[in-house]
Symmetry: none
């Protein structure tokens, strides 16, 4: 048996814009830890022909298939019928599941009807998997070398039956390879930068799975050992660490704001912000981290120039001479944030986020970030491509990175 | 041609627990409006055999297929190769796309390398679809009756190319059923509140498709005409409008922050914020809206009490007597924001976002929002369930709603 699994998800609401399908995301993470792989996720509407075709296709490709959704009592709940067809059996009432439903309704003082009892219908010959979170049990169907699991669709029920029954079964098969993993969080380099620098050192010759996940000004690099290639995996980890050290801020599942909170906390430092075009985004990201209050003082959203001058104390002559989007103003904002809040480090952002407001001299995407501590102030200029959201996210990330670097020298 | 479409998504990160796949959700909603249906979403890893099989399967079942992801420059970006195989052509460098990349790199003062230029490789014979949000263009391949679109994977780029090119093409085919739609944006009522109040008036008897999409303190209600049931659809729209008028802030695809910017702009008003537990989230949301500078002055992130007192001018005795999370402090913060920024309306938020910091008297989820204008200040108390993110999002939404209501009376 190969440790590969396909997921088939059924539900019209997942395909018409009403609900985000998170099953693949959750299951993929669980399988990864077990050394199993989710190789395909197929989502189809509650239509017998579509579901039948998707199920047969999956069972032709892999040995283990999980179907989720369509186990309710209404006419669009067709999963058990399609599974019974494949299994070559009929449906039967599963008495222990029906009794459980009766008890739940008695407890809630609600009248039971035949429709509700249909939740307890299962394929004749299935191993029934108790659902402690809901009414419809899961089912385990074994036919020759093929294994089919039917699971309820609501995420809590899906995850409950998975945890109680399916994940233990997968673990028992003893086929999951325990591949090594490693993650690098980087910021400041683009995905192509990273690849080009690694390739220039012969990274491409190493047998290792590498995945890049890019967000504005941030790239996560994930390495996974290929079967039997532990030395290459170790070489790859060393090579990324050496070549990308300038850009790497963590080797864990950590966001840049989490890294900032952790670093500042460990050094007993405090942070303040002065934000123009990001409008509060840096503060919002820092305060997403539970416990941020230990390091974050707050700051000023100086969107209008009056606030830059009146609240942060930026010299009006400097504003007039250089304009709000300039290195001297970024510097004065960071220093002002530090001064009025009493924080150890102040960071600032001023820029043209777009889509309007750009000029030939100061185009959309031009941003200055600064970070000030008692030793002085560092200013950086950026020229981002992308839309307003990208410019803002990338700028906030680089401001946080600047704060982190300054904390390191403090 | 049937108005049916399949989506094939590629990316290892979508199947190993790292990223939630939101493409089907977004696309499904867009197609629904056009009268097209997303009949299947297949997600596979970046593996040639899997992608080839998924693509061929989709093209065998429907006439229009969209593939997203795998158009980057690295070795795991294989979509254009697999598509070229099916199309029976090779890859060529698309000179206008390459030139666009060169211009972007020149603007950013970054050196260009051959790896980056690979973004501009397209299938020979493809209609190239400009990507205004990123480097890799989309492609439109037509072979007999089959239409294949290749789209970049990052959501912003996927949505941009879809909006610019693919959705207009689908509309032009003239095959989508034209069911009537209507949308209501509400805040302040829960999903069950909404349903219960509508059901109490007999809403359940109307033949109309109704979908509720809930976010913290915000519910979008979408109505769709059932075939041949136009009178019921019209009755349903009237009923929701009448019964939910207190909660409805827009009957368009508008966020609450967009509604605030629009309302303030039309009345010539300005806004300022004073944020404690939300740490800049209200400012960040308002400044997401292009053109926010016409109405937004800025404000203070008063995370630490010193900033509430020293910058916003909240009386230290009031802070000591009532605590930072209290109605009098929320009121003083909103008034302080207005005073120091010169804005017409100041809004404030102070609360316990959790997970720590709650007490018996002031539990996690307790939040005060206030809005001040020249006539006075309104304060509201909330007790939210949910985690830190829910508490913060819900609070920011209600603060924005309070600002919008005050603007209406100004």
């Amino acid at each position: 048996m190969k440790p590969e699994l396909e997921l088939v998800t059924t539900g019209a609401e997942l395909l018409n814009g009403h609900v985000v399908n998170r099953h693949a995301h959750w299951l993929g993470g669980q399988l990864d830890v077990l050394g199993w792989r989710l190789v395909r996720d197929t989502t189809v509407a509650d239509d017998p022909a579509h579901l039948r075709e998707a199920l047969r296709g999956a069972l032709a490709r892999v040995e283990v298939v999980v179907v989720t959704g369509g186990l309710g009592p209404t006419s669009d709940d067709i999963t058990r019928n399609i599974a019974a067809e494949w299994f070559g059996a009929g449906l039967v009432m599963h008495e222990p599941s029906r009794q459980a439903i009766v008890r739940i309704y008695q407890k809630r003082n609600k009248p039971l009807n035949a429709m509700v009892e249909r939740h307890a219908l299962v394929v004749d010959g299935a191993i029934v998997l108790e659902n402690r979170q809901g009414l419809a049990p899961g089912e385990h169907l074994q036919k020759d070398v093929k294994t089919l699991f039917l699971l309820p669709g609501p995420p809590r029920e899906f995850q409950g039956v998975m945890r109680d029954h399916v994940l233990p079964w997968l673990r028992e098969q003893g086929v999951g390879a325990s591949a090594q993993h490693h993650v690098f969080q980087t910021c400041g380099w683009g995905e192509s930068d990273l690849c080009a620098r690694l390739d220039a050192e012969g990274y491409g010759n190493l047998r290792v799975e590498t995945a890049y996940c890019a967000q504005p000004s941030r790239v996560t690099v994930r390495l996974r050992e290929c079967t039997g290639q532990a030395p290459d995996f170790n070489d790859a980890v060393s090579m990324v660490r050496r070549i990308c050290s300038e850009a790497v801020y963590a080797e864990t599942e950590e966001t840049i704001e989490e890294a900032v909170v952790r670093e500042f906390k460990s050094r007993g430092l405090t942070l303040a912000v002065a934000e123009s075009c990001t409008g509060g985004l840096v503060g919002q990201r820092v305060t997403q981290v539970p416990g941020a209050s230990a390091i974050f003082r707050g700051g000023v959203i100086a969107y209008h120039n009056d606030l830059k001058a009146d609240v942060l104390g930026v010299d009006r002559e400097v504003l007039a001479a250089y304009g709000a989007v300039s290195a001297p103003v970024a510097q004065a904002m960071a220093e002002g944030a530090r001064r009025i809040t009493g924080a150890d480090i102040g960071v600032s952002i001023t820029g043209v986020a777009g889509p309007d407001g750009g000029t030939a001299e100061k185009p959309v995407g031009l941003v200055y970030c600064a970070a000030a501590d008692r030793q002085g102030t560092e200013v950086r200029e950026f020229r981002w491509g992308g839309d307003r959201e990208v410019v803002r996210e990338a700028s906030a990330t680089m401001a946080l990175d600047l704060a982190r670097r300054l904390a390191g020298r403090a």
